[in-house]
Amino acid sequence: MNLRNVDKSTWIYLIASLLLFMVPFILTGRSMQFIFIQIFIFAIFAMSYDILLGFTGIISFGHVMFFGIGAYSTAITMSKFDSTIGSFLFGVVIAVILAAFVSFIVGVLTLRLKSHFYAMLTLALAGLFLVAAEKWRTLTGGNDGFTFRLPEIFRDSQSMYMFCLLSLILIFFGLRRFTKSPFGRVLMAIRENENRTESLGYKIVHYKVIASVVAGVVASFAGVLYALSLRFVNTGVFATDLTIDVLLMTIIGGVGTLVGPILGAGLVEFAHHWLSGLADVHWIFERWIILYGTVYILVVIFFPLGIVGTIQSRFSNRPLKGLRDNRKANENKGRRAS
């Protein structure tokens, strides 16, 4: 590989990755490292959502079910078997297979239809998984959940940090390659205009189902890391709130940018941490969610394409100007129709 052919953005991402590898040597506090770990995990989760929403134009209200599948698969495997790397890897394999299977079935059943059917079915299924997790107490511990022991290597917060960061970097570059491939171009074409893409000879349902499976598997892996980072799992991993959170992370960061959801995850997690930490200063910060809502509204007003999307559209030809054009065109169509 000729280094001269590596584009500028790749260098920026590599440098940012290196800097992040140094963080645990500078910020030695466990709580700060834990926040970073959570950011990495939610960044992976948000990138998986971006594959659906940003690159393929599929809206999901129940994406959290894949996250939950990953979390429970690992936790159950680790609690039933020894706390070894082997059982962890076995848990990951189960998580990936289950998520791939469920996302494949949901995709095949609904992605031939309009995208809101996918949104509604995933919402319903996520609810079903939540109820199953609550009721199947012998396996899941119900609402109370259960703790489990980690393999030796993950007990140290620094090695956990490195593992989550490495996972984030590998998944980011993997998904980036995926979205820049001919397959990714077809996904973006589907997002822009399904009929037109089909007229070019592409069977769009195949592409959508594969996008759904990729997004499901990546979300499931985020769930694996989440359970690992907490050493605990409960039904909260199937809560719809998490889907809303990840949707906000994606929108705030920039839909269809891949790096945007990482930034969004960082902003949301830090906002959560700092705003709730200011409760001692003023009582209003106890209701940090109000401030969080305000920040969200401001971001949507001033960065309608998300932070990364807005910056990219200002400093280069792309991406996402097309999305804005589409939005404007749709608004104009609406006006004309009325």
Partner: protein
Amino acid sequence: MESLLELKQVEAFIQHYHILHDISFEVPKSEVTVLLGRNGAGKTTTLRTIMGLNQVSKGTVRFKGEEISNRSTHQIAKRGIGYVPEDQGIFNGLTVGENMRVAMKKEDEETTKRMEWVLELFPDLKKFWKKEGGQLSGGQKQMLAISRAYVNRNDLLLIDEPSKGLAPIIVDKVTESIQQMKEQTTIVLVEQNFMMASNIGDHFYIIDDGATVHHGKMEELKEDKITMKKYLGIA
């Protein structure tokens, strides 16, 4: 002459509306067949029905002798039909280069040659290669839409109103490009601009109220003032 495409008594609905009542025509190989008619006559619906974007409720559509009625759109496209829709169908969020590459089902020697050919024909596309489709002018979008349909080796191109909304100088450019393409492929053209249609077309079919009502050679139509007045409103 051998027919590449043949429609027989095709009927089609859009929701509850019966749009096509009786469409029958044949498209000879290596020629340009023009579908003419007033606004709302059913020309665009006819092209969409050929592409499988509307269902055929009665009748048959045969392409290269094979029945393609009610096959799915991607199957029809794969059989070698390229479609340039009325609204151009550009992917606004993709660059010109990405729009072209999505259209190229495989990047082999032939498609690369074809791409080079259209880029020579439309140098603007080369110039704006990294610009998003949504940022192009109407004329550039039309050029991109036509190039995208041409870049694969399609046996038949369906082109819907390529001159719509374009400045006269751009219409000339588009006309020239279609004239060059017609040497290499068969074309079905829907066009309101009679001047353009008569310059390009070899045969015509007039569609009125969802039915083909008249057909012949384009040269004959230019002389047939009564038909032009009756069906096209051109004195």
